[in-house]
Symmetry: C2
Subunit: 452 residues, 2 copies
């Protein structure tokens, strides 16, 4: 462990990266909720209820996008500005903390880190943290700036919005898209733009860029298209992202092809475009161009799976992460082939990384099971509906079949906890587990139970 953790990033003595992450997110959420409780944050008279402020602040900082009130009509311009700020802080925070955690882990394991040229020296000082911070700021500004510019032009020219309003819409949705937040300033999210492939393309590109993660972006910037020179991490993230996108695109387009309540009445091109958008938004932007309350059960099931898997590590996206899913899939594949090692792209995946991946997924499934149990117990909705909403919260996705807005306070609190766990859980768990690795002192004799 390096100098930063020992001295404390915020001047507070925090002994463990996991504590930093939990503290940073907790404090930001509470500060955001306080701001949203000010009378000027709401469009109507008076100030909002504490649970609404807490839910919205958690949803914004955890870049989830689930809402219990209508963002454009319930919150004032000030309130929407606070939400945008919280999204930016949340997305920036998770990328930064996850990148720093990855470097800590590399140190601890004596690995060279691609994230930092100096990492191999084994020490980490404030200058290194600054270089990571500036790298992430550049990454963020580049993609958010480009998306904001294109979206502003689109809103200004094609939708006859005034320039100022177009800039506001452009900036808000660029930030919401790149940070995979899924908040929109339209009451029906992006359903009004289902026919606007250009706008969906810009939003989709921002979503995927943010979801690949900072480590991948560094690799792509340095090595561009020289696939063989990418790190194993980048190869796994890019191939899994592409594979999941393809599977989602084909299945979701097929499932909703004939559904008049969603995409059935649209042109073939529109249907494919929206099916593709629906394939990338569970990972984990949460924008929607059709009503998931009217979607087929098959769509709900596949989307639930995609939401649980999520995006890349140290990205703005959520879920258990595509590398985690990739490692588990590769373990099964190696087992089926009878290979003693788990290999991919001529690299061997360490046994400790395998067990971490299993732990992140099993603990995630346990949290999701418990959360879903509490949701069904406190709300009148069916298991399919609560499972979708619980996964959306845990994966910090923000898609909804419409039940979140109808929930009473206790199930809203369950979703708040799920959003927080889903945001800080996989990262802190993945990091904490590595830092706990101990040496073998003595070993018990081996004995094998019968499996299966």
């Amino acid at each position: 462990m390096a100098a930063v953790a020992r001295s404390g990033i915020f001047g507070i003595r925090l002994h463990h990266p996991a504590q930093v992450v939990v503290a940073a997110f907790g404090v930001t959420i509470l500060a955001g909720a306080s701001l949203l409780m000010l009378p000027i944050a709401t469009a109507g008279p008076g100030s909002t209820r504490p649970i609404t402020a807490l839910f919205t602040a958690t949803s914004a900082v955890c870049v989830t996008g689930l809402v219990t009130v209508d963002t454009p009509t319930y919150w004032s311009g000030f309130g929407q500005g606070v939400i945008m700020l919280l999204i930016q802080l949340g997305g920036f925070g998770i990328m930064t903390l996850a990148s720093l955690a990855a470097i800590f882990v590399s140190h601890k394991l004596g690995l060279r880190s691609r994230l930092l040229a100096r990492a191999e020296t084994g020490t980490l000082d404030l200058g290194d943290v600054r270089s990571i911070l500036f790298g992430i700021i550049r990454f963020t500004l580049l993609f958010e700036g480009a998306a904001a510019l294109l979206l502003t032009l689109r809103f200004w020219i094609s939708y006859d919005e005034g320039l100022l309003r177009a800039v506001w819409l452009g900036v808000f949705h660029a930030i919401s898209a790149f940070n995979n937040a899924g908040f929109a300033l339209f009451s029906d999210n992006l359903m009004g733009f289902a026919g606007d492939e250009l706008l969906l393309l810009v939003i989709g590109a921002a979503v995927v860029s943010g979801g690949l993660g900072f480590p991948v972006w560094l690799d792509l910037r340095n090595e561009r298209t020289r696939f063989t020179r990418w790190s194993l991490h980048t190869k796994l993230v890019v191939t899994m992202t592409a594979a999941l996108l393809l599977v989602g695109m084909v299945t979701l387009t097929a499932f909703e092809w004939d559904n008049p309540e969603t995409l059935g009445d649209r042109s073939a091109v529109d249907t494919v475009a929206n099916g593709t958008f629906a394939s990338l938004t569970p990972r984990t932007a949460g924008f929607n161009t059709f009503d998931y309350g009217e979607a087929n059960d098959e769509t709900i099931l596949v989307t639930t799976l995609l939401m649980f898997i999520g995006a890349g590590p140290a990205s703005t996206g959520g879920g258990v992460k595509v590398t985690t899913a990739a490692v588990l899939a590769l373990m099964v594949w190696a087992e089926l082939r009878g290979d003693p090692d788990v290999n991919r792209f001529s690299r061997r995946i360490p046994a400790t990384a395998q067990r971490q991946a299993l732990s992140v997924v099993l603990i995630g499934l346990t949290a999701l099971f418990a959360g879903n149990l509490l949701l069904t117990a406190t709300s009148p909705f069916s298991i399919g509906e609560t499972l979708f909403e619980a996964t959306s919260a845990f994966g910090t996705v923000g898609l909804s079949t419409g039940i979140t807005g109808l929930l009473a306070d206790p199930p809203q609190a369950v979703l708040v906890v799920l959003m927080f766990l889903g945001r800080v859980g996989p990262l802190t768990l993945g990091t904490a587990l590595v830092l706990r690795e101990r040496d073998k002192l003595f070993r018990y004799p081996e004995e094998r139970p019968i499996i299966g």
Copy 2:
């Protein structure tokens, strides 16, 4: 690999234990379906439809207990006799084949097998197979005989049945219980006996005995209560069975305590007794004393989880098996503690067993996900309902919220496939994976992706 596999158990040249299992179950199901298609098998005129015969034969041989027709009224005495015979063959077959597979695996890995004194010599001849067969026959007859006797007395004395009818009911339900089949000769399964704790106790004891598995029974017979001398396998099965029973008992009793449609109107003692019975029947007997169609969503969720986990290996029960779940839980526990090895009861669980457990569960989840997708696509029922039914089929449990009887032919075919996969899948997979283990020839350099 030993002499048996090379010469072929049935005179056919089968190169792999997995092929033996698949062939044995496939042939028995087809033979059973043919018998059930005879006109004398049905109570009404004419003969049954092929899909009904196939579904019932699969459900009986795979000891599942899901039914599309009412067992006592649709089938004749001959038909019911065929079902009973198929249950007995199925339960006996799975215990035998799984026990032999466990011995093959021990040989291959150079381990001493508790199942066979001679196993350590490294050869396996027909005498050894005979000793396993006779051991399982003794195990079966002992428990089925005792249960049949007690049940017969109960039906004869307390329910005023004629002696012959009481014997028939006693034998049928003893066989159905010990083999974890869940078929009953009452249209409402065991709902009419919800107030008969004595009968539930006998059925429950038979269910748990069959579900522990032959290897555990051997150990218990030889070592009785000397826990420290039990094999790791027996310790894991017994402690997991007890833990799951306890968790299920507490949660299910609590969930249905106030539900007037299930247990709410019963006395406290009755409610606890039926809650306990509901806790052991998903592992994986499938008898029910209340209507799962009226149960709370929380009950459905917990029951679904218990059904997926299932019973002990080389038992008459299904699911991915309690040892599989135990190994995965121990892996997560070791990871959280930072232990490099996965230990329990002063024994180390081999890395290969860990990866096999992961593979059995992940492939099981994949099969279940695909099956559920096909069920929702081909039937009008909600995701919660189809998930329960698909898990019940895959875990060969037989519990139902009532939708199986309403399914059209295509979703019935999906359930047939799920029952077959759920029965032969985990065993053949677990065995096949061990036999594929290869030596390390060369290793790729290690590289670690970011997890979580």
